[in-house]
C-alpha cells in the first residue's frame, strides 16, 4: 500500500504541491485529476523518487525517503512513452527484466506474453521509430509492467493521442490493469480517462487535494462549484433557480447551489418546470437546448441547458415544459 502523508514540494521557493495526503490500496487504481499546472505530475514524480519532497512517502509503512528511484520497485510511464529509440520493441519491453539479471528464454517468454497483453504480438523486432503513437504507448505500458512493479505510475498516459484512439486505449488500459492486478497511481487532466480507468479518484487544484473518494461518490457529491465544473458538470445554478430545480427533482437538500449536467433537464410535456427556448443545436443522439427557466409566477430564473429527443420539434422562442433527472444533478454544500 502506498501512503502519502503531508507531502509538500516546492520549486525554488514556489510551492507546487501543498500538504497532500493520499493512499493507494493494493490492487487499486487511483486517478489524480486536475488541470495542468495543479502539481499532480510533480506529486507523481516525487512518488517515483525523482523530486525531493517534504513529508512522508511510504510503501507498506516503510518510509521511502532514502530509497533511490531505481530501488523503489515502481515503474513510471511517461506521457510520451520515452522508449529507448536505439533498442527494439522486445529489448525495450525486456529492459527491466535484464536490469534484474534475468536472461534468455525467461525474458523472451515474458516479453511475448506482455506484447500479447497489450495487443502487439509479433512486434518484438520492430524499432520504436516505426510505430504509431498508440503503438508506442502500448509498448511503454508493456515495458512498465514487465518486472511486475509493486506500483505503476502513469503520467497522462493517453494525452498525447488523438481523441478516438484515446477512448479506445482507455478501455484497453483498464482491462490490462485489472488483468495484471497492478496497483496504479494515474495522473490526468481528462475526467473521461479517469472515470474509465480508475476505481477511486482525487481532485487536485493549485497543489492541494480538494476531494477524494470512490468514483461514484466524487461524481455524486462534488465538493464545490469548481470541482463540479472540472468533473464535467455543465453549469452551477444558484439561488431561486437552484431551489426550483431541487424542488422539481424531489430532492431534499438544503443548499443554495446545484451542479447540473447538460442532460439533467429533459423536454417533457408533463414536466413540472417551464422554460422558453433560447437556442437549438442538433447532435446525432439528441437536440441540445439553451433555455430561460421561468418560475411559477413567470419570473425569470436564469439560463440553463436542456435536451430534447430528436423527434420533438422545438425552435427558438417556443415554450417547453421540462422534467428533471435527479441522477444528473448534484447539490453543492454551502
Amino acid at each position: 500500500m502506498l501512503s502519502i502523508e503531508g507531502v509538500s514540494i516546492a520549486y525554488e521557493g514556489t510551492p507546487a504541491v501543498r500538504d497532500v495526503d493520499l493512499t493507494v490500496a493494493d490492487g487499486e487504481v487511483l486517478a489524480v485529476l486536475g488541470p495542468s499546472g495543479c502539481g499532480k505530475s510533480t506529486l507523481l514524480r516525487a512518488v517515483a523518487g525523482l523530486e525531493p519532497a517534504l513529508g512522508r512517502i511510504a510503501w507498506d509503512g516503510r518510509d521511502l525517503a532514502r530509497t533511490p528511484t531505481h530501488r523503489r520497485g515502481f515503474a513510471l510511464m511517461f506521457q510520451d512513452g520515452q522508449l529507448f529509440d536505439h533498442l527494439t520493441v522486445a529489448r525495450n519491453v525486456g529492459y527491466a527484466l535484464r536490469v534484474r539479471r534475468l536472461r534468455g528464454r525467461r525474458v523472451a517468454e515474458r516479453v511475448e506474453e506482455l506484447l500479447d497483453l497489450v495487443g502487439l504480438a509479433g512486434y518484438g523486432e520492430r524499432l520504436p521509430g516505426t510505430l504509431s503513437g498508440g503503438e508506442r504507448q502500448r509498448v511503454a505500458l508493456a515495458r512498465s509492467l514487465a518486472a511486475q512493479p509493486r506500483l505503476l505510475l502513469l503520467d497522462e498516459p493517453l494525452s498525447a493521442l488523438d481523441a478516438g484512439l484515446r477512448e479506445r486505449l482507455a478501455g484497453d488500459l483498464r482491462d490490462i490493469l485489472r488483468r495484471a492486478g497492478t496497483t496504479t497511481l494515474l495522473v490526468t487532466h481528462d475526467h473521461e480517462e479517469a472515470f474509465t480507468v480508475a476505481d477511486r479518484m482525487a481532485v487536485m487544484r493549485e497543489g492541494r487535494v480538494v476531494q477524494q473518494g470512490a468514483l461514484a461518490e466524487v461524481w455524486r457529491e462534488p465538493v464545490d462549484a469548481w470541482t463540479a465544473l472540472f468533473l464535467g458538470y455543465a453549469r452551477v445554478l444558484t439561488g431561486p433557480a437552484a431551489s426550483a430545480l431541487l424542488a422539481a427533482a424531489d430532492v431534499t437538500a438544503t443548499g443554495e447551489r446545484v451542479a447540473v449536467r447538460r442532460s439533467a433537464l429533459v423536454a417533457d410535456d408533463g414536466g413540472p418546470l417551464r422554460a422558453r427556448v433560447r437556442s437549438v443545436r442538433a447532435t446525432p443522439v439528441q437536440t441540445r437546448l439553451v433555455v430561460d427557466l421561468e418560475g411559477p409566477d413567470s419570473a425569470p430564473l436564469g439560463e440553463a441547458d436542456a435536451v430534447a429527443d430528436l423527434g420533438r420539434r422545438v425552435g427558438p422562442g417556443d415554450e417547453v415544459r421540462l422534467r428533471v433527472d435527479p441522477g444528473r444533478l448534484a447539490p453543492l454544500p454551502g
Binding site: G55, A65, Q82, A146
Partner: protein
Amino acid sequence: MTPRSPTSPGAGLRRVAGLVALAALPTAVLVVFFVVPVAGMVSRGFVVDGPGGPSVDVGGVLEVLGRDRTRRVLWFTVWSAAAGTAVSVLLGLPAAYALHRLEFPGRRLLRAAVIVPFVLPTVVVGVAFRELLGESGPVVRWLGVELDGTATAIVLGLAFFNVSVVVRVVGAAWESLDPRPGEAAAVLGASPVRVLATVTWPQLRPAVVSAATVVFLFCATAFGVVLTLGGLRYSSVETEIYLLTTDLLDLQGAAALSLLQLVAVVALMLLVGRLRPAGDGRVSRVVARPRRPRRGDAAALVLTGLAVLLLAAPVAALVVGSLQGPDGWSLVHYRALTSTGEDAWTGSSAADALVTSLRTSIDATWMSLLLGGLVAVLLSRRSRTRGERRVRRLLDGLFMLPLGVSAVTLGFGFLITLDSDLLDLRDSPLLVPIAQALVALPLVVRTLLPVLAGIDDRQRQAAASLGAGAWRTFLTVDVPVAWRPLLACAGFAFAVSLGEFGATSFLARPDDPTLPVVIYRLLSRPGDETFGTALAASVVLAAVTAAVMLLVERLRVRNLGAW
C-alpha cells in the same frame, strides 16, 4: 507549517555529494595545473623581491605597458588578427555555403579536407608557408611577388588555420536552417538575393558573429605561425611573451603582457558566450537536402576555389619541397629523419621524436577525455536549485579558460610553479601530456556537452524507474548517443596535442622532445639540409594528423570544433 520528517534532505544531500564527487577530479587538476601556474606567472609581474622581502610593484607593470615596443606589438596583434579574421570570414562563408548546401562531385572529400588545417601543427604550417613564399618558392618564381617575412604572409597563415573554423561553425548552422521560411518568402515573391538578405542572413548571423569572434581570439593568440613567419620583424603579444621570457629573461615584462592578454581574452570569451547561438537542444533536426549548383552560385564557387587554393598551396609546396634533394627529386630528407647525425642539438632524431609525440598524445588524449567527459556529464545535468545552476555556470566558464589563455603563459607558469618541494613535477614524463590535455579540454567539453544536454532527461528517469542504477542508466541512455562524439573527441584531442607547440616548447625535456619541437629546432639552424629535414618531418607530422582527422570526419559528428 508544522515541521515534518523531511523526505528530501537525504536525496538532496546525495545530489550535492554526487556533484562534488564528479567535479572534484577535474577541478583539482584544473587548479593545480592551470590556475596555479597561470596565477604564478602573472604574479611575477607584480611581486618583486626587494631588500625588505617581496613587495607589490604595480609601477613595473605600467612601465612595461607604456613601452614603445609594447605598443607596436599590441597594435600589430590587433590589426593582424582583424585582417586574419576578415580573410577567414570572406573565404569561409562562401565555402560554408558551397560545401554544406550544394551538391557537386568531390564535395564530401572537400568537406573532410577542410577541417584538417585547423589541427595541423602550427610549426608545420609555418614551414609550409616559408617554402611556398620563400626565395625559391613558386610564388616568387611564377608570380614575382615577395611575401616571405611580410605581414601579409602572417595574415595568410592565420587565415589558413581559421577558414576551417568558419566553414564548420557557419556550415553546420546553414545546413540545419529550416528551408521552409525561405521557401515561404520565395512564394511571396522574394528574389534569391532578397531571401538571403531578409530570411537567411538574420537566421545565420549569430553563427557568423560567433565564428568571427572565436577566429579573432585564435588569431590574436596564435603562436607558432607568427613565430615562424614573423621572424624578428613582427611580434604579437604571444610571441613577445615568449621572447621576453626565453631570450631577454624579462619576466616582469612577460608577466605584464600575460596579464593584459588574460584580461582581453576573458572579456572576449564573455562576449563569445553571449553570442554563442543557443542550441535548440534536440539531437535530431531538419537538414536541408543539398542541391545542384545554379548559375547564381558561380561567385560562391569561385571564392570556395580560392579558399581551397589557400589551403592546398602551402601543403603542396611543403610536400614538393620535401622531395627535392640537391640534384632534383630525392628521398634524401626522409632518410635523414632517422638519424641524429653528428648534430646532437635537435635532442633526438625526428623518428624518435615522432614516437615521443605519439606516446605523449595518447596520454594527453585519455586525460582530456577523462576530464572533459566528467565535466560534460556534470554540466549537462539539470540544475534543481538556483545555487546549483550558479555553480554549474561557474564551472562552465572555468573549464573554457584554457581556450583563451596563452599556451606560452601556461607552459612557463608550469616551470615556475611546479618546482616546489611539495610537488616537483618538472621532470615528470606526465608534465607535457597534462599541459596538452588542458589545451584540448575545452574542445572536448564543447563537443560532448551539447550531445549530452540534448538527451531528454526523462529518458534517464524512465530507465531509473525501471530499476536501472546510475551506471546502468548511463550505459543505456547516454552511451548509445555519445560514443561517436566521444570517439571523435578522442581523435580531435589526439591531433591537437600532436601539434601542440606553445606549451610543449617550454616543457619538453631537452633529450626527449616532441616532433614539433624538433622541427622548430631544425628551422632555427641555417642550412639547406636541415631545412630539408624540417620539411620532411613536417610532411610526416601533417600526414599523421590529417589521417587522424579524416578518420574522425568519417564519424560525422556535428558539433566537432564548433564553439
